[in-house]
């Protein structure tokens, strides 16, 4: 049974994203443990040199982490430490080459043994998932599928094979804070629900409690990344209380529509 899917529970879920090693792995560890009190699922970003789906905020986080010398092996160590302290569902979010270059099976096996529950690769669409999804299945990791406002008739095909949750990309473009989300999220989520009971969470551009409540009303959960990373960028090693306070507000907003 998928720990990630279960985390969506009867109420609406809050999925939080962090880039590992921004500003350093000790801070990431503290942030994850603090977020575990508010978020239902945590996405751990493994930094990549050229994150083509990210806007400037998360690009900056990737760059800061890599300049600090963070590696995939150190991040596996981080997960082992975190797993001794919390059972919150964890998914890696990174780019195909980070997994492929490590050796796809070696990466997924190590991640599963360290205690990860899922894998999100934004540059792997439905057509290419055979490279990764069967290996994930063999080691009990959910391979998370993404759908976008342009997916239309592709949604049913993608959602039918979804695991964990369906990541609904709210808008055109890259990750980052947006003042307004204009896509018809409700219609996307309805198409998902027609073919699967896997929950649908909306990400890209959500940064305020009001937006989170609005999106949570239309879907099963919301994903916040850039808004959290901005706090880490601003407060660095002192970011933990600021992120915790923000996460509490988001969780309250999401819960208000549950």
């Amino acid at each position: 049974m998928s720990k990630i899917k279960n985390a969506f529970g009867p109420g609406k879920a809050f999925v939080a994203f962090l880039t590992c090693g921004d500003p350093d792995l000790d801070t990431t560890e503290k942030l994850v443990l603090s977020l575990a009190a508010h978020a239902d699922v945590i996405e751990l970003g493994i930094p990549f040199s050229d994150p083509t789906a990210e806007g400037p905020t998360i690009q900056g986080a990737n760059l800061r982490a890599l300049s600090g010398g963070v590696t995939t092996d150190q991040i596996f160590e981080l997960v082992r430490r975190i797993r001794k302290q919390t059972a919150v569902p964890l998914a890696f979010m990174t780019y195909a080459n980070v997994v492929f270059s490590y050796g796809t099976e070696r990466f997924i096996k190590t991640a599963a043994q360290a205690g990860m529950d899922g894998l999100i690769l934004p540059d792997v669409p439905f057509e290419e998932k055979e490279e990764f999804a069967p290996v994930c299945r063999a080691y009990g990791l959910d391979f998370i599928s993404l759908i976008a406002p342009t997916s239309r008739q592709r949604i049913a095909r993608i959602a039918k094979e979804a695991e964990g949750f369906v990541y609904c990309v709210s808008s055109l473009g890259v990750t980052g804070v947006r003042s307004q989300i204009t896509s018809d999220i409700g219609a996307m989520v309805r198409q998902v629900r027609e073919v699967t009971d896997v929950p649908a969470a909306v990400g890209f551009g959500i940064s305020t409690p009001a937006q989170a409540a609005d999106m949570a009303a239309k879907a099963d959960g919301v994903i916040l990344g850039s808004a959290i990373v901005k706090l880490v960028e601003r407060y660095g090693r002192d970011a933990v209380p600021h992120v915790a306070e923000f996460a509490q507000k988001i969780k309250d907003a999401v819960r208000s529509v549950s």
Binding site: T71, A96, N97, F100, Y102, S151, G173
Partner: protein, 393 residues
């Protein structure tokens, strides 16, 4: 074989947002490109606007000095001064047929940016070019030309501020505005169907070499040499010879300061298989898959990957890939200028440099074709600087 793959290489490793426009492009490639209307219009443009066929020229002086028959395929004589226009005429026209109104493109040396801006000006399309800040400095004249042609040039400051980062930024831009916009990828790289589309539009190079060589010499060449960054002029020059086992195909990569230094862009020599910029291919990267900051004196070859069809030609052994250093390329640049009166692009000089290396082992009766993919005006200031001389207008 899986759709969009060359052996193990290729594919469509892009965000879901980009899948619909890629599928739309595949459809256009199947239905629009082969149609007589499109082909007639493209062929007319290539003849009357680009100036094709480009000459295949036997170098009397170099042949004498090197001891074999050296021929140059003169893509430098195309309108805008490089092979890039073959592709932008094709993709520009395709954009019009698809009913879109904006061309986006990345550029390294600026040749593809100029060729895209030219297509946009001719065809009445808007044009946005993304170029690394470092490359804008190295190729200021091309930046001015693009603006003159009506394009907006965006400076890319992320990463190494060169071609790789320009491609990433153009992909990001495209995900935000796919409805009215076509991404004119400049090389045989990126997600399917780009490696095939660009190859098909550049294959006119080998089609002409073949016809011209058969017409003038009554036989095929013994080897075809071309420089390789992403590899579009090379694949164009190889394509119609792939089935002819007697024709050696040699791609010349940029070794920069040497393949045993970190300052290199020689992907086949120093890279390993990976997944990046939409494709599975060879990439310069570290042990954790972080893409390496590559270097070459040539902005057009300064890219950490290679097109998937080249990766397959390398793996099957059908084509050979060699690495040429900055020093060797600069010497070849000066040598061709002095000996034959042709100033080549520094990119193309990499291919000529390898032809010189072949001289000792090559019998007199052999015919070698080197593609001069572009002209060297754009490089004069940088080469002068390399030799310790500052030019001013």
């Amino acid at each position: 074989m899986k759709k969009g793959y060359y052996g193990d290489f290729g594919g469509q490793f892009v965000p879901e947002l980009l899948m619909p426009p890629l599928l739309e492009l595949e459809e256009a490639m199947r239905t629009i490109v082969p149609s007589p209307g499109f082909q007639n219009e493209l062929n007319a443009l290539l003849a009357d606007y680009v100036g094709r066929p480009s000459p295949l020229y036997r170098c009397p002086n170099l042949s004498k000095e090197l001891g074999f028959d050296l021929w140059l395929k003169r893509e430098d004589l195309n309108h805008t001064g490089a092979h890039k226009i073959n592709n932008t005429m094709g993709q520009g026209l395709l954009t019009k047929y698809m009913g879109k109104s904006v061309l986006l493109a990345e550029t390294g040396a600026g040749q593809h940016g100029v060729a895209t801006a030219t297509a946009a000006a001719l065809m009445g399309l808007d044009c946005e070019i993304f170029m690394g800040q470092e490359d804008m400095r190295r190729q200021a004249l091309n930046v001015y030309k693009m603006r003159l042609l009506g394009a907006r040039v965006h400076s890319v400051t992320s990463g190494t501020a060169t071609l790789k980062d320009a491609v990433s930024e153009t992909m990001r831009e495209w995900t935000g505005r796919i409805a009215d916009t076509h991404y004119v990828l400049g090389s045989v790289m990126g997600p399917h169907p780009f490696p095939t589309i660009v190859r098909d539009f550049q294959a006119v190079i080998s089609q002409e070499i073949r016809e011209q060589m058969l017409g003038q010499e009554g036989r095929l060449p013994d080897a075809v040499l071309a420089c390789v960054g992403g590899g579009s002029n090379a694949i164009g020059a190889f394509y119609h010879f792939i089935g002819d086992a007697s024709v050696r195909l040699i791609g010349c990569e940029a070794a920069g300061r040497g393949v045993d230094t970190p300052e290199t862009a020689a992907t086949i020599a120093t890279g390993k298989p990976g997944i990046f910029h939409g494709m599975k291919s060879y990439f310069c990267q570290d042990q954790y898959g972080q893409i390496a900051p590559v270097y070459s004196i040539s902005a057009g070859l300064d890219y950490p990957g290679i097109g998937p069809e080249h990766a397959q030609l390398h793996d099957t052994g059908r084509a050979q890939y060699v690495a040429i250093t900055d020093d060797e390329a600069v010497e070849a640049f000066e040598y061709l200028s002095r000996t034959e009166g042709i100033i080549p692009a520094i990119e193309s000089a990499h291919a000529l440099a390898y032809a010189r290396k072949l001289a000792p082992e090559m019998p007199r009766d052999k015919i070698i074709v080197v593609v001069v993919s572009g002209r060297g005006d754009k490089d004069c200031a940088a080469i002068a600087r390399y030799r310790g001389e500052e030019l001013s207008e």
